[in-house]
Symmetry: C2
Subunit: 367 residues, 2 copies
DNA sequence: TTGAAAGCGCTAACAT
DNA sequence: ATGTTAGCGCTTTCAA
């Protein structure tokens, strides 16, 4: 059986399509309609299983009621449930709540610029969400300049684009502060184990340093294992040998005299920290008795270690929701006709607030 | 600046929109056109940045050139990069290759039946891919009956729907066979640690048993830790206490006289197996010297253990691609007008072929 | 309170 | 070889 059109419902109810259109949308134009007819129409519509043809409505309204999302490559943080999935879930949830559809423009594959601009231009999507866009790439800036409706998630480039970012600095600072509360004063930092680090790694290092300062903790360069930090021990880093780097770092720490060793470690990521911890434990150190540990991102890995790893969590789902809400709201503000292009407002910029997740890998230090 | 329409290009090129339509699609109706005009049109189109309005084309062609995907809840396998992401990536890739768009109907949230049927009905999507649909649910069957274009991935219910499934039985059988090649004859099995197991868990157990039979290995019920197997040791399983179950199983194995212990373990999942392995190692057993291990799904967790866990991998990405290809192909076979509803063909059914990933957790047994 | 009708931008059959 | 035109199904203004 063919699907029902407005016309079919109108015939079944014995009236014109205009009234039907009005009734099923329960608002449009200046049409009103008597209760009996109204009921008749609703019944007919239900009976025929009427649903407005999507393309037709989109054509008429000049809106697709769809937003697009672009995800460069999932799981780049090395292990664990990737943030992308949680963000996507949040985006999808917000879209559904606001009755928008979600178009997955690209995931993992690499054809950003053209595709995105194209979907936008073909009126395929009313707005665009871009995840982890490379700060160096030009296309993001071009989108922003062309006054398209775009919001980036975790973008650290120069383009003046609306965006919402992980609270990277706040997260690592928070880890330090929580450890300080437990009387730790010698706190080490485990940066990226590879030589190709994600863009936000340096921000996390900065947060660590800020956290130390705020807590009145002296930073000891000998225990800050991050290539971006001056005075750090020289560690050989390659593009694949996480394990070797972890072993080197662990042996350096193990070799320190017990009273000079860090009593706690903050990791730039759960994965890096866990690799180092595993080596430390093989060297005979106990977690958390000898050394406490706090990771970053609260990935699935945390709960697969013994003791479970404390971590700082980003509100991925919430960020996705918020981004979607913003882009949709923005889309509805824009005039559909070529009216005034809506004076360029302030750039929208949000930093998410991380949350500390306490677990077995931390213990208080005797005062 | 407003986006260009067919009409704008036609004016710029000084011809009618029909010719433009023909040229930009380089095929349509029985129109031909001289080379000079052709060039002029192409230039004008490029200059104006012309792209066909999506909704308009969809309305006219009665096709959305979009397929929808429904993902109930990601990451249910407990840890590691979830298969859903890889499948999604494959689906997206195939869609792009075939110039289809991908609509993410739902991920993680729970509103399947209505939403899916609706998108289909509103001509929002030309076809639908459903991931991990619950075998008990009715809505999948209803979709199938209504002659909609749907393909399920990893569906084990009764509905006569096109689908492509993980080769679960083949995977666990493969693990056994590979271990047998290494002269293992006492092989244990680690089933789900929780009392709520995924639907395909029992198939994996069956595969294990088949693998044993094929390899001439006697199954010892005392080392088959799966609640579905008669004769298995009684293990207390709850909905959350994986760790306790793992400890119990490990202590049972450790308590066995060394010459009666399994020399190898097959896990129904990487996660379950790793939890048990960790406890075994804490009890003093060495992997792989004392006991070899092969997991399932090749999740990210595998590479986070020492030794790295051998596993059997499902071709997630390829399955996604194949599903998408099928649903698109099917969509293009269907008549757009109400012609003959295309006699119901054979049910399309594919089982994916798993691949063995050898890693440090396996060693040969002395002959 | 209801109906008629003009398009939204595009494709394709039909005319020239 | 090119132009004209009738819709696809819907929204909405205008007329009755």
């Amino acid at each position: 059986m063919k699907r029902a059109r407005l016309k079919d419902v109108a015939e079944a109810a014995g009236c014109s399509i205009a009234v039907v259109s009005h009734v099923v949308n329960n608002a449009s134009g200046n049409i009103t309609c008597g209760e009996p007819l109204r009921q008749k129409i609703l019944r007919a519509a239900a009976e025929l299983g009427y649903t407005a043809h999507y393309a037709s409505r989109a054509l008429k309204k000049q809106r697709s009621f769809t937003i697009g999302i672009y995800i460069p490559a999932p799981g780049n943080r090395g292990g664990g449930l990737n943030p992308e999935t949680a963000i996507l879930e949040g985006v999808e949830r917000a879209c559904r709540e606001l009755s928008y559809d979600l178009l997955l423009i690209s995931i993992g594959n690499g054809t950003p610029a053209g595709e995105c601009a194209n979907k936008l231009n073909a009126r395929r999507v009313d707005g665009l969400i871009v995840l982890h866009a490379d700060g160096d790439s030009e296309w993001v800036g071009q989108l922003a300049d062309s006054d398209k409706n775009v919001v980036a998630i975790n973008y650290f480039g120069p383009a003046q684009i609306d965006c919402i970012n992980f609270g990277n600095a706040a997260a690592s600072a928070m880890a330090v502060v929580e450890l300080a509360k437990l009387n730790h004063v010698k706190i080490g930092y485990i940066g990226p184990l590879r030589d190709t680090a994600p863009e936000d790694a340096s921000i996390r290092l900065r947060g660590f340093l800020e956290g130390c300062e705020a807590s009145g903790i002296a930073v000891d360069p000998a225990m800050v294992f991050d290539a971006d930090f001056s005075g750090t021990p020289r560690i050989e880093r390659t593009d694949s040998g996480d394990q070797e780097a972890a072993e080197t770092i662990a042996s350096i720490i193990t070799a320190m005299p017990p009273d000079q060793r860090p009593t706690a470690l903050v990791g730039h990521s759960d994965a890096s920290l866990l690799l180092v911890l595993r080596e430390l434990m093989r060297n005979g150190l106990r977690v958390p008795q000898d050394i406490s540990a706090v990771g970053m991102d609260d990935s699935d890995l945390c709960r697969f270690f013994l003791p479970e790893l404390a971590s700082v969590k980003q509100p991925f789902l919430g960020m996705g929701e918020e981004a979607a809400r913003h882009v949709i709201e923005e889309s509805e503000m824009r005039p559909v006709k070529g009216a005034a292009p809506l004076a360029k407002r302030q750039r929208w910029l949000r930093i998410s607030e991380p949350e500390f997740i306490a677990r077995g890998s931390i213990a208080a230090r005797d005062g």
